[in-house]
Symmetry: C2
Subunit: 284 residues, 2 copies
């Protein structure tokens, strides 16, 4: 694995050499095996995992239910990406990009597939008229921050997280590149949250949900080893204030447990959280 | 610039060492200097540059005008990112993320800012009810592909393009990582376009505009040196068929000239394109 090198005229796919997650990275799309997805009884079928992108969907569903939108009932199924379940024929039919989360909306006459976490948030927010501002300027601000998050996360996760924590070698140039951009993104959010309670304005919205799952993991120190210290994240106090407020929401606490290894691998009803709490209490 | 190294406990910002564009990458957000943006007479003020993300907005404006939406008249102003114009106080007020394109929508009672190319496309498509499907399933499919493009481009541009063409050293691991992902993304699009005329279905939409500007540059061989050969992009024949169809649209031809060095640095009316064509003819 040399460092300074001359790329060949034509790239070829060699055996995996990419550290963690190397076995699930491929240059080819499409299904690797035939398998249908499970389908439950609720209008919405979520196929996900409690990564930052996956948590977004679980949190919004729990927020919608908490806000009284009973029609937002959902079944959540874990897709084990380490085992390649995102490459099943059933999953690829819902998301041809083979990434979690993916959603099947069976609330209408015909099932509708929705993929990409940002699209799922927007689809559900529009469907229930919730967690998205109704004024033209508020909506534009919310969409701007939502797309900002979607275009930024690859620099945080696929960039900084990969090269700082997951890559098989520590490459100084790449770590510097993505550390700088990750800090800049925290600073963009920090300045916005210095002037506004939430990203899109006074009200909590899908832009907050999308951004929260990414920034909070790093800020708390949950993600990427010593990244919190490495990036001096304590500097971003307005981000910290905003994370604390969102962390305290009961629906967020529940949403983070959906499709989580230490939470609910499957979620089919509100009672599942009670069962989990009882189990935790009996262990403690 | 060593390769295998141990990151320090706390990252610090040293002098720029990042190759092309190094001088415009900073770990800090916000304005570096006071300067207001110019404002023209039309309802929409676009601040952009003809990069793949910037071209999206110019193309959609030209498509809207070509489709008869006379209210979509716009002034386009070039933001020279190499000179740091995205860090002016005026630009930061419209886009706190300091990236092109940014839009000021002055068509209503109060000016509305919109930033991120995906948000600009969606804002305009919704405003004019054009280039976005009207059925629930069509809209969901369009949003899914639009967000897919927004979440994917950082792997193509900030990832593959950077490490293959712009970084000061060629790092084999990083080039392999992003070459693989760029090929996978082309394959995702290729398989979709094998079954569907456009990404969201039978009709050309903002999902196509967003994806076209990125894939076409690499596919034609315009972007990143020998990337077309390196990535064997001729394999993706359905992408090629779709690029040829979109390339042929007159509005796309005009849109690609907006805020381009070899096109219109400023665009204020349809006549500007005629002037450009006459100049080209007189030179030829």
């Amino acid at each position: 694995m040399s460092q300074e090198y001359t790329p060949p005229p034509v790239w070829t796919w060699d055996a995996p050499s990419g550290g963690a997650f190397a076995n699930i990275n491929r240059p080819i799309a499409g299904a690797t095996h035939e398998l249908e997805l499970p389908v439950g009884e609720h209008p919405f079928q979520l196929y996900s995992l409690a990564t930052p992108n996956g948590q977004k969907a679980g949190i919004l569903f729990e927020e919608l239910l908490a806000a009284g939108h009973a029609a937002a009932e959902y079944d959540a199924w874990t897709i084990n990406i380490g085992e390649g379940q995102q490459f099943s024929s059933g999953f690829v039919a819902v998301n041809p990009n083979s990434k979690i989360p993916a959603l099947l909306d069976r609330s209408g006459a015909q099932p509708i597939r929705v993929f990409e976490s940002g699209a799922i948030l927007l689809h559900l927010a529009e469907k229930f008229g919730a967690f998205i501002p109704t004024t033209p300027s508020g909506r534009a601000e919310c969409l701007s921050w939502l797309f900002w998050q979607m275009g930024s996360a690859p620099f945080i996760g696929g960039g900084f997280g990969h090269f700082y924590a997951y890559a098989p070698i520590k490459i100084e140039y790449a770590i510097n590149r993505y550390a700088m951009e990750t800090k800049r993104l925290f600073d963009v959010a920090d300045r916005r949250l210095a002037e506004s309670r939430f990203l899109a304005g006074d009200d909590y919205s899908i832009a907050d949900i999308a951004t929260f799952t990414w920034l909070s993991g790093l800020y708390r120190g949950d993600a990427y080893g010593e990244a919190r210290q490495f990036l001096s994240l304590q500097e971003y106090q307005h981000v910290g204030r905003w994370i604390a407020e969102i962390d305290a929401r009961p629906a967020v606490k529940r949403g983070r447990l959906v499709n989580a290894r230490n939470g609910l691998l499957e979620r089919h009803s509100a009672a599942d959280f009670d069962t989990l709490a009882q189990e935790a209490a009996s262990v403690g």
